[in-house]
Assembly symmetry: C2
């Protein structure tokens, strides 16, 4: 019926334990033996049973992708990351679970306990803002579960992947300055997200570099959603002196800003330049298409998972990988009006 490890052992003339060693890439197996076993596995189409491995051993070959279901309702950002994580997992014959967490409440720690207890999760991939949740990190540590972070706020001793968002934001705002804009507003993301801080910092950097003062009126709080972009834009358009350009901390809010501009009859980019951050699919689907910064989410998911697996499979410690950004200058930004 099913090809078992025992069958491979018998066919090869070695013990089950030796086959197991080969399977798990343990050292101290003679190369000749390894090859023989590997060949038999291949030809017999042997596929180890995850259930049995999980039961007998300490490892489950399972990683979970955790995300905050509260701040991120079914976004393409997460879907892309998930795709990347999945890809890396499959390459190493690991399985992936997805685990939405509602962080507002203490209950989410129980979910972690359950995940570890039930499935013996080997490791987790954390997405923002979970990457910086102290309680969560502590609990993972307690359970001895490895983790990799995507865009973590702090970098010390962390495994995962990040981008220099501050410089990216600064470059982007520099682009606006280069177009002659002097009154440039910024719509901030959810306050305690790293992404919000970096992008705001980059905005300030660019203004400073251009010798422009930071006007607090032009910095409006948002929360990464389309709706909050609308609200922020209305607030900006209620000012005496309108900004000629608005940089929002992500594309969704930029869409909100553009929507509002349409609503009040402003023409983008003639009357107002708008730029976002992330380069979600929406960026090219807006009219006019959105100037933004490309953040390769899928790739980031893949790399983070890869580093996690590196660590789990005992090949080194896993690193914090930096990934380059890329400005996407499109049609939503143009020279400042007259």
């Amino acid at each position: 019926m099913r090809v078992r490890l025992e069958d491979v052992a018998r066919a090869t003339g070695v013990s089950q334990k030796t086959v197991s060693r080969v399977l798990n890439e343990e050292p101290s197996v003679k190369e000749a033996t390894r090859q023989k076993v590997l060949a038999a596995m291949e030809s017999m189409n042997y596929r180890p049973s995850p259930a049995a491995r999980g039961l007998a051993g300490r490892r489950s070959f399972l990683v979970a992708m955790l995300y905050d279901n509260n701040d991120n309702p079914a976004s393409t950002y997460l879907a892309e990351i998930q795709d990347g994580v999945l890809e890396a997992c499959e390459a190493h014959r690991y399985s992936m679970m997805v685990c939405p967490l509602r962080v507002h409440g203490q209950d989410f720690l129980r979910r972690i306990d359950a995940l570890v207890a039930d499935h013996h999760i080997d490791g987790v991939v954390l997405t923002p803002p979970l990457t910086d949740n102290r309680k969560l990190l502590a609990r993972l540590q307690e359970h001895g579960v490895a983790h990799a972070c995507i865009s973590p706020m702090h970098h010390k001793g962390i495994v995962g992947v990040f981008m220099d968002e501050q410089r990216a934001a600064s470059d982007l705002v520099g682009h606006l300055v280069g177009l002659g804009h002097r009154r440039i507003a910024h719509v901030v993301g959810i306050a305690d997200h790293g992404a919000s801080r970096w992008r705001l910092a980059g905005y300030k950097d660019a203004l400073a570099a251009a010798g422009l003062a930071v006007d607090p009126q032009y910095i409006v709080q948002g929360e990464f959603t389309f709706g909050s972009g609308v609200v922020a834009a209305r607030r900006l358009f209620s000012l005496k002196r309108w900004p000629t350009a608005i940089f929002t901390a992500n594309d969704d809010m930029a869409a909100g800003v553009m929507w509002t501009a349409n609503e009040i009859g402003l023409k983008v980019p003639r009357d107002l330049s708008v730029c976002g951050f992330d380069d979600t699919p929406m960026a090219t689907q807006l009219w006019p298409s959105l100037t933004t910064v490309r953040q390769p989410s899928r790739e980031m998911g893949r790399l983070a998972a890869q580093q996690l697996l590196e660590q789990l499979r005992g090949r080194g410690k896993g690193r914090l990988v930096q990934i380059p950004y890329e400005l996407q200058v499109r049609a939503s930004t143009a020279a400042a009006p007259g």
Copy 2:
């Protein structure tokens, strides 16, 4: 250390097997015994090991959500369905795996084999267009894996969830007719998807009901993507007599149409009415906001999974549930020009 079934048995003074029976909701356990065991499980915080259950029994308590990665790159549609499936699974202590399939190639059947062999998947949730892939269905049957479908093309003997998309489309086009439109175009989705057929059929129904002829010029092939919406729109605008309204088979293509309208200086809805289908988040974020049909993806995922689990847990056969649609009339449709 870990609380095992044996511990519960000892604490209750019954055999392991009896505890197992309670755990699996098997019949022929005296009510008093059941309660005693249940109480012990609760107080000891017992959590069965999925690995052990999977190894010993025939069931894995695992379901997979399959989707076609080719036609559906990381869409919110799938993300929402996934969310719903996950919710239903968690309610019944099942785990969920996600499994992207590339259907163009024979290789995907191997992936199914692997999924079943490796993980002993109990059942799968199928999303379009996999719901109608004969080879896939046959292979699942062979493996004895139960399945539930979301919006399957055929309804006979199928478990899952569907909407009356044809009537929905017909209502939507009826809405356009009511606004005085006579030259109404339709951008079709990927040809062999059920969604495309129903929506096209509904379009024709509505024209017929209004006594309007179906003009083949006004029916343009698309493929559910933004880009294909752009292409389709350009084609329509190359005709001598432009349509005054365009109904696209989904929201993404509607966005493409609106983008193109903007490009050539057409004002929606003054010069052109546009409507889509699905009510993705994008629908309210477009300018002007899009008239469309609400398809509650998340809920559909939840219901499909629920029916699948119903079947797996042996409580009845699982049904094909119909879910109501809802027209969302927004700002992208208005009275026909002139």
